[in-house]
Amino acid sequence: MTHKTWMAVSLLVIVSLILAACQPQTIEKPVVQTVVVTAPPQVKTETKEVVVTATPKPADKVKVLRLNAGEGDIPTIDPALAVDVASVQIIDETTVGFVRQNETTGNIEKAMATSWNISPDGLVYTFHLRTDVPWVKYDAKTKQVVKIKDGDGKDRTVTAKDFEYGILRTLDKKTASEYAYVLTDVISNAAQFNSGEITDTAKVGVKAIDDATLRITFNEPVAYNLNIAGLWVAHAQPSWLIEEKKDRWTETGNQQSYGPFTLKEWIHDSSLTLVKNPFWPADIPNIPQSKIDEVTFAMLAATPAFSEFEAGNLDVAGIPLSDVDRVKADPKLSKQVENVPTMGTEFYTFNVKKAPLDDVRVRRALSYAIDRKSVIDNIVKGQGEPARWFCRPGVAACPTPDKYPNLGIKYDPAKAKSELDAYLKEKNLTADKLDLTLTYNTTEGNKKIAEAIVAMWKEVLGLNAKMTNMEWKTYLAQWTSDPNMQIMRGTWVQDYQDANNFDKVFSTGGAYADITRWSDPKYDEMCAKAAKEQDPARRIELYSQADQYLVVDQAVIAPLYWYSGLVIYQPYVKHTQSITGYDWFEKWDLAN
């Protein structure tokens, strides 16, 4: 009897095991729900919070990637209003543009656009869009992602009209978008519409020909038009939802999106959680369906974030400067560290109208005297590469150190001294009498770097440079308005991946023109020529010349380092190596 029972039980166990194993891991049955969107809006009633300690089903484990977005609430996830990296990262995961940049190669790849035609004059781009991407949202009651239906009960899919609406909304002056400028610079009549000069949207160079075709007219036939067309400010936006919910359309329970992820929950100042969109088409090779179920962003400063990482509660974290030594010496942790580049440059810029910086020899001397490698090794603890020019390698059309080994500026104390001596002799001055002040905005990092570099100027050149610091906004107000500012700490992070976005900064009317007080038609021409050049290799050559002029011949800035950060990953995080500063989490996986 016992033997039989034992046989029966074990048979039962084996059968149930087989059955369990046979079940596919994650079945998400698309639950068709009628979401009545056009009903009169509900009054904000207090929803009773049911504390659900969700016990995941043992068979399918929910894969959650836990990240940190940095200190402070994410300002917005509205494509028209986003300006900072964290916001853009999230928007790029919940919505997708015509094209998308591959994070490992930097190449532009098709995304929502299956193809496009460019007119012979290079000004009119006609995009052909996919028609099978639905609008979705997360339903907290059923804990599922559901498709959005319109008033007739049909599924809403992303159309060219949604893109047209999105672009026009970004440009609309009532929206007051800060990043509209990337579009107003390039799209025909966009600037006039944004300033209110014209009010007829039909005149703006964006038109939805039909549901699957969008035509954009640009101002100039430059190579980076496509790049800009794919930026977040030009993503599709849901007009019906924005008209109903206005500013709150991106809040928990409201947000609708169409990308590989959608918003699950946003607890302000605390965390933001994305959930995988199961309706994202499975046949786009560079934007696959996500293997990870949820991505959570915490909002912690660097040190508490790293504590959470060490406690095992975060999967990816940055390493605070003071902990770098410890981590690098730890046998286990050091293997999990990677140096991740971000597309930006740190530099000191000179006010070329204020003595003694009005003489190029002084500027060059200051730049040659900086031992960038020492700053990076000792102060920034390896989080950066010594910068020899301004444009950041990795950005399209930007020269790279391996191809251009002699380009730009390097640490050369002898040259620094000779340049300065030439100046001093002519003016009959001594180095210690020169009045120089370095100003930076107050952060720990800036302070440490400034102290180190001022000490270098003293060692190599005998200069007694002073330092002042001020709070960020005060700094922004001062550096254009105060003519006495001399050496100022500057930073530039890309808006879009193209050398033009970098070098144009110092041309007449560029972002730093009022700060450097430098305007040189020769440089402007070099930049304009490079922007129009269509041959990629020739473009790089032209930008390398422009950079050499900027950094060595005229020494308008002293580049310090190109940004990269030390990031540490838990061993089970399978990720891609990004060179663009953005990650695509749908390509990641968790092996635990």
Partner: protein, 361 residues
């Protein structure tokens, strides 16, 4: 002698008078803050990437920053003070969101709009009050409890056993508590209890909005307490030292008073002497600091929230200034002012109870 005097409770009259003064105080505070914040160089939309004048014009128009200052101020004050009744339900716009919205049928009573945030585009200052203030209050109340529970007995004991070991050890511990700043104590606790022993979560808070009755967490299980222990302690320890020291000093003084000698001479038990006579009077200086201490703790502390990643209001005190987020600056300052004025009023009322010789004319 005419009619007998109307019996109005003098204390009640006093409270009403103080209340009216509070409104005046808030008015003055609001004007000064408004002027100071606009005197700061730079604006909310300045970035290192130069914003073109057209875009700046759009931004100023949307947030009404292009109007003359006095007009902005009046608009702001009337948004807060004047309620209105409309048939229009609250739209999703952050510009006309209100703190108090009561629906009766299809009429809406809407009151107190503190304005939109300039930095967080989908939130208004009212949202921050609704969602972040309760967190700071919960943390503040717990920190104050820690401070009182630790500080008061320690101070009393030290005073009663003056110049003995109890006294020296107790006061040394108190001084230590005050002189180790949160910025050192916090990360230390996180390191030991959070990362190494893993007994408590290093960061976070155990309750999220919406809150019970707008203020309280929905459940008080271990899932809530485990987040609250370290920050309450880190925050409360410094204050407990202040309470301990003050209590000791004050009690020592009161014990020497003549009426205490009289009570002892009458033959009353020591405990009765202390509790019934000495304690009440000795608490006056202690109660004085409780008022501002409570206000400061509750409206959040920047460093604690930064270290423990707590979504409270304290962060906004500093970040709003550096962001030039004018409405948030005003909102936090006014909130703090209200807390403080009310705390002071409570303290003054307690004075009268503790020391009957203090009269309010």
């Amino acid at each position: 002698m005419g009619n007998p005097p109307v019996k109005v409770n003098p204390m009640g009259r006093y409270i009403i008078r103080r209340f009216l003064w509070m409104l005046l105080v808030l008015l003055v505070v609001s004007v000064v803050t408004f002027l100071m914040e606009h005197a700061l160089p730079g604006g909310p939309f300045d970035r290192e990437k130069k914003v073109s004048p057209e875009i700046m014009a759009n931004l100023n128009a949307r947030y009404r920053l292009d109007q003359p200052l006095w007009k902005q101020y009046f608009q702001y004050v009337s948004d807060i003070m004047l309620p209105h009744i409309t048939t229009a339900p609250p739209s999703g716009s952050v510009m006309d969101d209100t703190l108090i919205t009561i629906q009766a049928g299809n009429l809406y009573f809407r009151w107190m709009n503190f304005g939109p945030s300039y930095k967080s585009k989908s939130r208004s200052v009212n949202d921050m009050f609704r969602e972040q203030l309760p967190v700071s209050m919960q943390l503040g109340v717990m920190a104050l409890l820690v401070a009182i529970v630790i500080g008061l007995p320690m101070g009393i004991l030290a005073a009663l056993k003056q110049n003995t070991l109890w006294d020296y050890v107790g006061m040394s511990v108190a001084i230590l508590g005050v002189s180790v700043p949160v910025i050192v104590l916090g990360p230390l606790m996180v390191w030991i209890l959070g990362v190494t022993l893993k007994w408590l979560p290093p960061t976070g808070w155990g309750a999220k909005p919406p809150f019970l009755l707008g203020l309280f967490p929905h459940s008080l299980t271990w899932d809530y307490w485990k987040y609250a222990i370290m920050p309450s302690f880190a925050l409360g320890v410094g204050s407990s030292a202040i309470i301990a020291r003050l209590t000791r000093a004050s009690l020592l003084q009161v014990i020497r008073e003549d009426y205490i000698r009289t009570a002892r001479a009458k033959g009353l038990a020591e405990r009765v002497v202390i509790v019934r006579h000495a304690l009440k009077n000795s608490l006056i200086p202690v109660v004085t600091v409780l008022g501002p201490m409570f206000a400061a703790l509750v409206t959040g502390t920047f460093v604690t929230e930064l270290i423990f990643g707590i979504p409270g209001l304290g962060k906004y005190f500093v970040t709003s200034i550096s962001n030039r987020d004018y409405t948030v600056i005003m909102g936090t300052v006014l909130l703090y002012a209200v807390f403080l004025v009310i705390s002071n009023l409570v303290v003054d009322i307690l004075y009268a109870y503790l020391d009957p010789r203090i009269q309010y004319k």
